[in-house]
Structure formats: C-alpha cells, structure tokens
Amino acid sequence: MSQLEIQNISRVFPGKKGTQTQALTPINFNVNENDFVTILGPSGCGKSTMLRIIAGLDHPTTGQVLLDGKRITGPGADRGMVFQSYTLFPWLTVEQNICFGLREKGMSAAEQKERSSYFINRVGLKGFEQHFPKQLSGGMQQRTAIARALANDPKILLLDEPFGALDNQTRLLMQELLLGIWESAQKTVLFVTHDIDESIFMANRIAVFSARPGRIKTEIKVNLPHPRHYTVKTTPEFMELKAVLTEEIRAEAIAAEQR
C-alpha cells in the first residue's frame, strides 16, 4: 500500500463576481514510503496548491488525501514542510527554531538539545546555533528550515520550491545536501520545483504538471543510481531525461503564457 494516496483531489478558487478558477482538476497520485518524488511544472500550475492540500494548509474542493490510510483534515507534525519564502521565526535562534516542533511535542530540554545538535551538524550549521535568522544567508536559512522540519521526524517531507529564492551555486549545493540526507536517512519526500535539472537530480520519480488547471500530465521514472554525485548531471542518461522533460514543460509553459 502506498504511504500517501491522493484521491480525486481538485481545487476551485472562487474569484470576483462569481467567476471561478480551477486550480487543480481531479488528481490521483500515490507516493510510496521512502520515495523521492519531484513535481515539475510551470509557475501557476497548481503544484503548490496540491502540496498545501497535502500539508493540510488548504482544503480540496473534491477528493481526499490519505496518509497511511488516514484521511488528512488539517496540518500536523506528521507532514513537515519547507517553504520557498524564509519562514524561520526571526525572534528565535537557529537552535530554538529547530526545537520549535520538539517543544510543541513536550520533549525534554535535554532531548531537544540532542536532536537539534544532530540536525545542526547534518545541515552543516555547527557554530551557528545561537545566530538569529537575520544573521544568516538565504542558503543557511533554508538549511535551518530543512533541519527544523526533519528534527520533528515527520512521515513525509514536503518542499515547496525551497531553493527557488537562492542563487544558482547555492542552489546546487543545497540539492546535494538534501539528496545526501535523503540517501542516508530514508524519508518520503515530495519536492515541488519548476527547475528541470533539479527535478531529475533529486528524484526517483517525476510527476509533470500541466498548465492550469493543473493535472499530472506524465510520470517519469529516474533510474540513475544512488548515491548520486553532481557529475551525474553531465551523463547521457541525465541529458536524455532532460531533453524529454524540456519538451514536456515547454509545451505547458507556452500554454500557460497564452491563457
């Protein structure tokens, strides 16, 4: 059985003067435990809406999402999320940010400290425990956000274009960091992006979204071996996938532009 089951999810946003915007047409999609799935699509295609519905931050108009067979009705600690915008609490230090969810669970201070220091090391932020978010670069803030989500030990990690606001070099390093964590820790990951390279490099499976109203146009398996090194991006297999996806996405981007 799949860990995450998306059943007939659609979302209609009411607009001005009774008009309606169909953001998602009914979507059916399953994610297996410990799978790394990227959702690739042009901007405004509804891929973020789907992620927000899974997180419980938005409600579907029709359909339901099941996590381990249980219907999702609202947000919860079992689904960690990393947002594109910087959402660290500015009044808390790196360490306190990472402990936010742990404290909410009522974990003892000693245990919190131990977990946070493990994840601070894991994302390479040792020495920055007592820094405030404003004292960190964008990349470091997103690393903290990843650590904060992982420290909570969610069943599934949802990432909504987490590296979208970072410069290209930082972005590549962050991809390697996240992939490395996934390869060693094994976790179900759903990663939304509009970057083709990113979607191939990280994923076992890519779901390509159509332009709005969003639906899953195709699913592509990525059979590149793990652990993946950044040099995989120049292999013929990678290039072949990239060529296919470029065509797929181009058609959708044109459709989105002409809407």
Partner: protein
Amino acid sequence: MKPTQHKFFEFRPLQPIHPRFKWVLGLLFFIVFIAGWAIFTLGGFVSPTFLASPMAMLEEGYLLFTEYNFIHDIGMTVMRVLVGFILACLVAVPLGIAMGTFKFVEAFLEPFVSFCRYLPASAFIPLLILWAGVDEKQKILVIFIGSVFQIILMVSVIVGNARKDLVEAAYTLGARSKGIVHRVILPGAAPEIAEILRLVLGWAWTYVIVAELIGASSGIGHMITNSQSLLNTGQIIFGIITIGIIGLISDFAFKAVNRRLFAWSNL
C-alpha cells in the same frame, strides 16, 4: 579602493552627512532659537508681561524648585501619567491581542472602539469631575480614556498583521491554536506593540496637563494655571519645558528598553 569618506557638507539629494556634523546641526538650531528668543525679549521688542526672557525663565525655574516645592508637582504629574497609562495598557493590550487574533472578537468590538477613539479625552473632564470628583481618580481617568482606545486599536491591527507564512510554518510543525498565539503571534507582534506603547505614552503627557489645568491642586498643569493668573510667563515656559524634558527622558528610556528586549528585530 579608497574608503568612503563622509564629506562635511554636500548639496546633493539624499547625501548622508558626517555623524558629528549632524549633532552640531541639531544643537545649532536650539542655540539659534534661544538666541532669537533672547534678542526679542532682552532687546525690548516684546513686553516682559507677555514673554519672559530666557534668563528670567531660568531664574523663575530656580525659584520654583527652591520656594514652591516644584519637585512635588512634577512627582504628582509623573505619578498620574504612569498610573493612568499602566492601567490603560493592562486593559487595552490583552483586548487588542484578542481582537487581532480572533475575528469574532474584532467584529464585536471594533466598531465601538473605533467610535470611542474619536471622543476627545479632554471633553470628558467636566463629566469626570462630576463622576469622580476633582481628586486623582479624575485625572487618571482622563489619561486612561485618552490612551485605552488608541492602544486597543493599534495593537489589534499589529496582531492582525501577523505573518501568515510563519503561522503556517508553525502549523506544519505541529502547533495548535494555543501555540500559534503564544509562540508565533505574540512574539512576532511584541516589538511593534512596545513601539506603539511608547507613542501613546507621549500622548498621555499631553492629556495629563489638560486634566491638571482644570480643578487640580498640584501638578505641572496646576502650576501653569497658577502662574497664568500671576502673569508669570517665566514659570509657564519653565513648566512647559519641564514637560518636554520629562517626555524626552521617558521616550529615550522606553526606546532603550525596547532595543534590549527585542534585539532580534533590530538586527
């Protein structure tokens, strides 16, 4: 590369000036102002009945402290402001937070509070004298009425503008309503709430003087009305300046405390 140099003066839009020059310029205006005042009064352009000279003013001020126990008046005024202001904070801050957080509380209270906000506190003085007499209660009530509605509204706006993305992030970390309010909305709003309290405290200083102009037997405002009947413009001006200085000190103190408490928001 050459280090950037602050030129002392440059006639260009938005051009920063040397920090020391800024100080000097600020001070210079005070000197110009006092010099102008001295020329007008000492030069005989205005009669001393209407405007005392700076020296006469200082002299009167000295007498106020030595002969008329002015320190007691200052103490009374400060006490009234603090009690009225603190009471207003105790009522208004929790109410404002409740209004900003819960939309049904806002819908219930906001129209009434918005209406009350435009009722001039000083116009209540005759009523308050009727209700509470001419003692401390009345003066404290003036400050309370003048501050409480302003604080409620401004706090509710600040709290209502809490960053939605942080609230969502907290939800995905397992927070419930209580955690959202205590650990996200309040800490995020705290620096701005402290700022508006500083602002309103400044207004409270003007309310207290108005309250003391009528039916008071002590306080800086009372001293000013007394001096008016004696045509002692030196004392009046000294009283006004005293209020200004006390207000400035409390403002600086408030600012310093805010900066310490909310260091993260100034990073």
